[in-house]
Symmetry: C2
Subunit: 187 residues, 2 copies
DNA sequence: TTTTTACAATTGAATGTTCATTCGGTTTGC
DNA sequence: GCAAACCGAATGAACATTCAATTGTAAAAA
């Protein structure tokens, strides 16, 4: 692992554990074994480092979950497997997932980066909803924007409470939740 | 307004605007016209002040939205009006709402206070879901916990994106969203 | 009524700490 | 021998918190 990666890796973990304000550059240096000066060789500032962390993680998640999901003949199966991919990702990377959720609204992270990510996300999700729409499965008279927002709010919120330990999720519960979300958007 | 209230009031606004780390006790003192020493007369520490803000706002919201909602004969109407109460509250207090959402997961806020609030919330929400259950309206074989979590995730997520300006919500869209959530939980 | 007393409210300068960032220098790889 | 990678002590600003002193206040004592 390069020094740059070591810094990024250590910083995410520390920030999740103690919050941004309790994670000083000095501590990141000590914990990662990379000198303060070197951190500044790779990152302009602390804000820059944090924004970079956010950007990297979001892109990694998008690539794994949305951009690599394979369309299927049965659209309900496709819908289901997409959500399961997200759940799997969150299970395997709970720390990273929590970081993203917690800093989604943070004013520290550059607005341009947030927008870039948001657009990329919307583009990926639209693909599946366009297919559902063309098959006439979606509720009528409701805008695609609204349906996507409902979808995104439910899914992210539920995965978050799963990761936070607020609910248990075995295979059975996952199937039930996906069914609920599906019933919300289809006729 | 007492000095104590002045401090609380100024602090919420500043924290929403600039985040916790950019809101120093010195600045709160200057903006509120209350000396630093006086702030420490009323609050043990900065953490204590922030936790107090969180607690006050949550309780205010719970009282307005849940604990004062009046049961109705038609359960769909009751369900609908409860969600509308929350939307109305968020519209009227967007700054406070944003503060609560942003700091819901923050490690700064005392875990005991979070739990106290969480229990109070769950208790209020359970009332309506028990009624729906007794009427046999809910989907079968799904635990009440899961249904409530689905409800809470969808509603809070959607109101949040409304307040953040990510979606528009006229009366028509509100009705549609409530219908979607309802279809998710009922047979 | 006036004076005394006690205590709560209020003040802001002073303290000690922590922190992000810089910079002059050293090491490494090519 | 050159440039990029790397180092960590030094700097100065910002900050949370403390505290000795002052003011307000309300009740008890005179």
């Amino acid at each position: 692992m390069s020094k740059r990666e070591k810094v990024l890796d250590t910083a995410v973990k520390m920030i999740i554990e103690n919050g941004i304000q309790n994670t000083s550059m000095g501590k990141i240096s000590k914990n990662s074994g990379v000198a303060v000066g070197t951190i500044y060789h790779y990152f302009e500032s602390k804000e820059d480092l944090i924004t970079e962390i956010y950007r990297n993680l979001k892109i990694k998640m998008l690539e794994r979950v949305i951009e690599n999901s394979q369309p299927m003949d049965d659209l309900y199966d496709y819908f289901k497997s997409s959500i399961k991919l997200l759940i799997k990702y969150a299970e395997e990377n709970p720390i990273e997932f929590e970081f993203m959720e917690r800093h989604h609204m943070s004013p520290v992270i550059d607005a341009k980066v947030k927008e870039e990510i948001e657009n990329r996300y919307k583009k990926g999700v639209k693909k599946i909803f366009k297919m559902l729409d063309e098959e006439g499965l979606l509720k009528e008279d409701i805008s695609l924007e609204l349906i996507i927002q409902y979808f995104q709010s439910s899914v992210m919120g539920l995965v978050r409470s799963y990761i936070n330990g607020e609910i248990k999720m075995t295979e059975k519960e996952i199937e039930q939740l996906i069914q609920m979300i599906w019933d919300g958007i289809t006729k």
